[in-house]
C-alpha cells in the first residue's frame, strides 16, 4: 500500500494548490469560491448546460469536463485549465478561438461563453479534424440561449489550430485517504484496497466517474461521511481484446472505450456518442453506467443484446454473471455486500451477426432516453436463427423481450414477421407513463423500432437521416 497523505494537490492554470475543503466539494465551488476564479459559471448545477466547463490535462491531452459534477476529491492529483488559464499560457494574449468568437459575434449575454470557449479550445488544440460534425459534437454539452450557435460554429471553423504548451507536469500523486470537515474520501489504487475498504465501510458512497451520483453533491448539497472513488484502481482501468471478445474495465470512461466500441460495434458507438456530452463522457464510466442500474442507462440494452458478461469481485472471490441477470429491480442489482464490478466482457460479432441499437429521446444530444432498443441478429439464409432483443425505458430494469424473441425464432426475415412480432412486446413489458412518454407511446416506439431495425438492415440505402431520432 502506498503512503497515505493527508493532503490533496491540484494544479490549476499552472499553479499548485492544496485544497482544504470537504472532498465532495465540487470543483466549480472550489475554483469560484476558494480560488476566486469567477470566469467559470454555474448555469444548471447538473452537467447539462456546460457553463462550468473546465479542462483536465491527462495523457498530454485536454479533456473538457463539467466542474459542477467533479468533486475536488476526484480532481486530487490532477492538472486543470480554466478559462482564465488559456491566455495565461499564451503569454497573456487571448487564444485564437477566444478572438474568433469575440470578433465573429459569437457572444451576446456572454454567460455561456467561458464554457464554450474552453470546450472548443480542447477541440482546436487536439489532433482531431475540425469538421462541422466535430464542432457540433464538441458543443453538444454547451447551451447557448442567445446566439443560435451559428457565429460560434463559424468562429470554430475559421480559427487557427493551436499547440499551446501548458507545461503539463508529471501527474502529482493523489492522496488515497483524505479527511476534512467530518468527511473521509478513499481513492484506492489497487483492487485489493478497494475491496477491503468497501467491506469494512459498506455504508460509503461508491462511485467512479460520479456523473450520476455527483448530482447529490452539486444540486443536492449532500455531504456524506464517507466516499470511495474507484476511478484510480489500476485493475479497473484496462481494455483487453481476445480473438472472441473485448473486455472493458469498470473504471474506463466512455471516451476511452469509444474507439474500440466504434471499431467492433459501430451502432453501439452511435449510442455512446449520445450519452450526455463530451464533458460527461470524459468523466462517466462504463462500469458506472452498469452499477447505477438505471432503467434508461444507455449502454445496458446494448450490452444485454450483445450477450455481455460481468466479472464481479469481492474479498470472497470472483464470479461471472450474464449482464441480463444483473438487474433485479428498479436500481437494484445482484451485487453483494462488498462486491464491485470489475469488468464487462463483450463477445465480438460473428461474421453472420448483425447488431443495431436505437435511442429515442426528446432531443438528439444530451438527453435522457425515452426508449432504447438493441438487436443482435443471426440469419441463416432468410431464416432468423437467433435474435436477441433488449429494451431500456420499458420497465424497472433494462431487459430482453423473450416472447418476441421466441416468436421470431425460425421465422422468415421479412416485414410481416416483424410487424406480427411487434404485438408480442406488450406481453413482456408494461411500461410506465411519465413526462417522457406514456405507456402506450413507449410500447408503440418499441414496436416501431423493431420494424425500423428490419428496414435498416433490409433497405440500407434509404436516407438514414430520415431515421435519425
Amino acid at each position: 500500500m502506498t503512503v497515505e497523505k493527508s493532503m490533496m494537490n491540484l494544479i490549476i492554470n499552472g499553479d499548485n494548490f492544496s485544497p482544504n475543503v470537504p472532498p465532495s466539494t465540487t470543483m466549480l465551488d472550489y475554483i469560484r469560491d476558494h480560488l476566486g476564479l469567477k470566469g467559470t459559471k454555474e448555469g444548471c448545477g447538473e452537467g447539462d448546460c456546460g457553463a462550468c466547463t473546465i479542462l483536465r490535462i491527462s495523457d498530454g491531452k485536454l479533456h473538457a469536463i463539467n466542474s459542477c459534477l467533479m468533486q475536488v476529491g476526484q480532481a486530487d492529483g490532477g492538472q486543470f485549465i480554466t478559462v482564465e488559464g488559456l491566455a495565461k499560457a499564451n503569454q497573456n494574449i487571448l487564444t485564437p478561438i477566444q478572438l474568433a468568437i469575440a470578433e465573429g459575434g459569437g457572444t451576446q449575454c456572454g454567460f455561456c461563453t467561458p464554457g464554450i470557449v474552453t470546450a472548443l479550445f480542447a477541440l482546436i488544440q487536439s489532433d482531431e479534424e475540425i469538421t462541422e460534425e466535430a464542432i457540433h459534437e464538441t458543443l453538444a454539452g454547451n447551451l447557448c440561449r442567445c446566439t443560435g450557435y451559428l457565429p460560434i460554429i463559424e468562429a470554430a471553423k475559421k480559427c487557427d489550430r493551436t499547440k499551446i504548451n501548458f507545461n503539463a507536469t508529471a501527474p502529482t500523486t493523489h492522496s488515497e485517504k483524505y479527511q476534512f470537515g467530518g468527511q473521509t474520501r478513499h481513492a484506492p489504487s489497487t483492487l485489493r484496497d478497494l475491496l477491503e475498504i468497501l467491506s469494512s465501510r459498506p455504508d460509503a458512497v461508491l462511485f467512479s466517474g460520479g456523473t450520476d451520483i455527483g448530482l447529490r453533491f452539486s444540486k443536492g448539497r449532500e455531504k456524506p461521511d464517507r466516499l470511495i472513488d474507484a476511478s484510480r484502481v489500476k485493475e479497473l482501468n484496462f481494455i483487453e481484446e481476445t480473438k472472441d471478445s473485448i473486455r472493458i474495465g469498470a473504471a474506463v470512461t466512455y471516451t476511452a472505450a469509444l474507439p474500440e466500441i466504434e471499431r467492433l460495434y459501430p451502432s453501439f458507438a452511435d449510442i455512446i456518442r449520445r450519452i450526455g456530452s463530451k464533458q460527461i463522457r470524459n468523466l462517466g464510466t462504463i462500469g458506472g453506467n452498469i452499477g447505477t442500474a438505471s432503467p434508461i442507462g444507455d449502454t445496458l440494452p446494448c450490452l444485454i443484446a450483445l450477450d455481455a458478461k460481468l466479472t464481479l469481485f469481492s474479498l470472497n472471490g470472483v464470479r461471472e454473471l450474464a449482464i441480463e441477470d444483473f438487474f433485479k429491480d428498479y436500481r437494484k442489482t445482484s451485487l453483494g455486500r462488498g462486491e464491485v464490478i470489475h469488468s464487462v466482457s463483450i463477445p465480438k460479432l460473428a461474421s453472420d451477426q448483425i447488431f443495431r441499437s436505437y435511442k429515442i429521446a426528446k432531443r438528439y444530444d444530451q438527453d435522457i432516453s425515452t426508449v432504447i432498443a438493441a438487436f443482435r441478429l443471426e440469419l441463416t439464409g432468410q431464416i432468423i436463427k437467433d435474435l436477441r432483443i433488449a429494451f431500456g425505458g420499458m420497465g424497472p430494469v433494462p431487459a430482453r423481450s423473450p416472447t418476441t424473441e421466441k416468436f421470431l425464432e425460425n421465422q422468415v426475415w421479412n416485414e410481416d414477421s416483424l410487424v406480427t412480432a411487434g404485438d408480442k412486446i406488450a406481453d413482456d413489458f408494461s411500461p410506465i407513463s411519465d413526462h417522457r412518454g406514456t405507456s402506450e407511446y413507449r410500447l408503440t416506439l418499441a414496436t416501431n423500432l423493431l420494424q425500423k431495425f428490419f428496414w435498416d438492415i433490409s433497405a440500407p440505402n434509404t436516407n438514414s437521416d430520415l431515421f435519425k431520432s
Binding site: 469567477k38 454555474e42 448555469g43 478559462v83 482564465e84 469575440a102 470557449v117 440561449r145
Partner: protein, 429 residues
C-alpha cells in the same frame, strides 16, 4: 459606391460586442462574480409545494437556531405593501394566507453560507389546508376565472359576414409555453447603506420596476433605492417583471438582518417559481370565399395567465393585435381571455404574444387551404393587406408603406420557388 468606413457603427460594419473580449476571457463580471461585501448573507426561498392551499400556520423557530442563520422573512415582515404588480395591483411578493401555485414563495431565510441557508429552509414548518386547483386553460375559461377583464376588438360586421359566407370552418389550436432558460439564473444582491438607503445589484431588464417594487414593499422612497445593472446572463423577457421578486426578497431580508444579502436562485427553484411564455388555446370560426379570401372571422384567444396578471394584459393585447399578421380582416371579432389558473404566473417572453396571435391566423389560413385544396401561398396572397384599399387593421390603423406583395414576388423569383415546389411535388408523388 465606396463604403464610408469612418462612420462608427454604420450598417455595413460589424463592431464587436462591447464586452466581447471580457466574455471570452472570463473577466466579464456577473452579479455572482462580484467581490462579496463584508458579512454577505446567502438566501434560500421556501416555496409552496401545493398549487392551491390555505396557509394555516408558519413556524420558523427551528430554522432560526440553525448554524449561521441570520434571519427569516415571511409576509408578516413586509412593512409596506405586499404587492409587486407591474400593471395592476394585488400581486403578493410573499404568500400571506393563500398560495395559488406550486412554487410560490412563502418565506426566505438568510445565513452565512448557501448550504446553511438551505439546511435552515428545510426546518421551516408550514401547515396547509389543501384546496382544489384549477390547472387547465379550459377549466378556468369555463369557470370565467380571469386575472383581469377579458378584452375584445370588433371590426366590421363579423357575425353577419360569417352567416353570409359561402363557406365556413371552425377549429382550434393550442400552443405550449416555454421556459426562458437564461443561462444566468435570477439573482440579486442587496447592500444596506446609510439611513434607508439600499444598493441592489439586480440581474434585471427593468431597473425602474425593481426600484418601484422594493420601495413599495419596504415603504421607503424610491430615491433611497439604487439599482445597479452591469449586465445580465440572458433574460429574454424573463427578467422584466419577475426579477423584481428576487430583488425585493433580497432587499427585504437585507433590511431585516441589517447585512448584505445575495439571493441566487438555483436552476430548479428558478424554473419552478418564475413565469414563462404563455401557452394559448385558440378557437376560431371563419367564413371565406371560394378563392380563399376571409370574409368574416371570430377568434377566441385564451391564455394561461397563471395565478396573477403580471404582464399578461400586454401579452394578450399583443396577441390580439397580431391576429391580422399580414392579412386584411374585413370583418373580425377578436376576443382575449386571460385565464386564471393555479400555475406560475406567465410573463414577458420574446415576441410578447405576437407569435401566439400569428399562429392563430396562419392556422386559419392553412385550414382554408386544405379545405379548398389550394396552395397555402395562394390563400395567403388572397388575404394580404393591399396598398391603397383593404389596408386597415382590426384596431383601425392604416397600413402604410406596404411592400409585402413586391417583397414576396422578388423573393419567390430569387429563390426559384415555383421550380422548387414542382420538384418537391414530384418527389412526393
Amino acid at each position: 459606391m465606396k463604403p464610408t468606413s469612418t462612420i462608427i457603427g454604420a450598417v455595413h460594419q460589424q463592431p464587436n460586442h462591447d464586452s466581447a473580449l471580457k466574455h471570452v476571457s472570463g473577466e466579464a463580471a456577473y452579479i455572482d462574480d462580484l467581490p462579496a461585501p463584508r458579512d454577505l448573507q446567502e438566501a434560500v426561498l421556501v416555496l409552496s409545494p401545493h398549487p392551491h392551499a390555505r396557509i394555516v400556520s408558519i413556524n420558523y423557530s427551528k430554522a432560526l437556531i440553525m448554524p449561521g442563520v441570520s434571519g427569516v422573512v415571511t409576509a408578516d415582515d413586509i412593512r409596506g405593501k405586499n404587492d409587486i404588480a407591474p400593471v395592476f395591483s394585488g400581486e403578493p411578493l410573499l404568500a400571506e394566507t393563500l398560495v395559488e401555485y406550486a412554487g410560490q414563495p412563502i418565506a426566505a431565510v438568510s445565513a452565512d453560507t448557501y448550504d446553511q441557508a438551505l439546511a435552515a429552509s428545510k426546518k421551516i414548518e408550514i401547515e396547509f389546508e389543501v384546496l382544489r386547483p384549477v390547472l387547465s386553460i379550459e377549466e378556468a375559461w369555463k369557470k370565467k376565472s380571469f386575472t383581469f377583464d377579458p378584452l375584445e376588438i370588433t371590426f366590421g360586421r363579423p357575425l353577419e359576414a360569417i352567416a353570409e359566407a359561402p363557406k365556413v370552418l371552425e377549429g382550434d389550436i393550442s400552443c405550449g409555453g416555454q421556459d426562458h432558460f437564461y443561462l444566468e439564473t435570477q439573482i440579486s444582491m442587496a447592500v444596506p447603506g446609510e439611513d434607508q438607503d439600499l444598493t441592489v445589484y439586480s440581474s434585471t431588464q427593468h431597473p425602474t420596476e425593481a426600484q418601484k417594487g422594493i420601495s413599495r414593499v419596504l415603504d421607503i422612497p424610491q430615491h433611497c433605492v439604487l439599482i445597479e445593472v452591469r449586465r445580465m446572463g440572458g433574460a429574454f423577457g424573463g427578467k422584466e417583471s419577475q426579477s423584481t421578486i428576487i430583488a425585493a426578497l433580497s432587499a427585504l431580508l437585507a433590511r431585516k438582518v441589517k447585512k448584505p444579502v445575495k439571493l441566487r436562485l438555483r436552476r430548479d427553484q428558478d424554473m419552478l417559481m418564475t413565469g414563462k411564455r404563455h401557452d394559448f388555446l385558440v378557437k376560431y370560426q371563419v367564413g371565406f370565399s371560394q378563392n380563399g379570401r376571409i370574409l368574416g372571422l371570430v377568434v377566441d384567444l385564451a391564455m394561461r395567465s397563471g395565478n396573477v396578471a403580471d404582464l399578461s394584459s400586454g401579452v394578450l393585447t399583443r396577441a390580439m393585435s397580431h391576429v391580422d399578421n399580414a392579412y386584411f380582416l374585413e370583418n373580425a371579432l377578436i376576443r382575449g381571455w386571460p385565464c386564471k389558473t393555479n400555475t406560475v404566473s406567465n410573463t414577458a417572453f420574446r415576441g410578447f404574444g405576437g407569435p401566439q396571435g400569428m399562429l392563430a391566423i396562419e392556422t386559419v389560413l392553412e385550414h382554408i387551404a386544405v379545405e379548398l385544396q389550394k396552395d397555402i401561398g395562394a390563400v395567403r396572397a388572397a388575404n394580404w393587406y393591399k396598398k391603397t384599399i383593404r389596408n386597415t387593421t382590426p384596431y383601425k390603423q392604416v397600413v402604410k408603406d406596404n411592400i409585402l406583395p413586391d417583397l414576396v414576388a422578388e423573393l419567390s423569383q430569387k429563390a426559384d420557388l415555383i421550380q422548387r415546389q414542382r420538384e418537391i411535388d414530384e418527389f412526393n408523388n
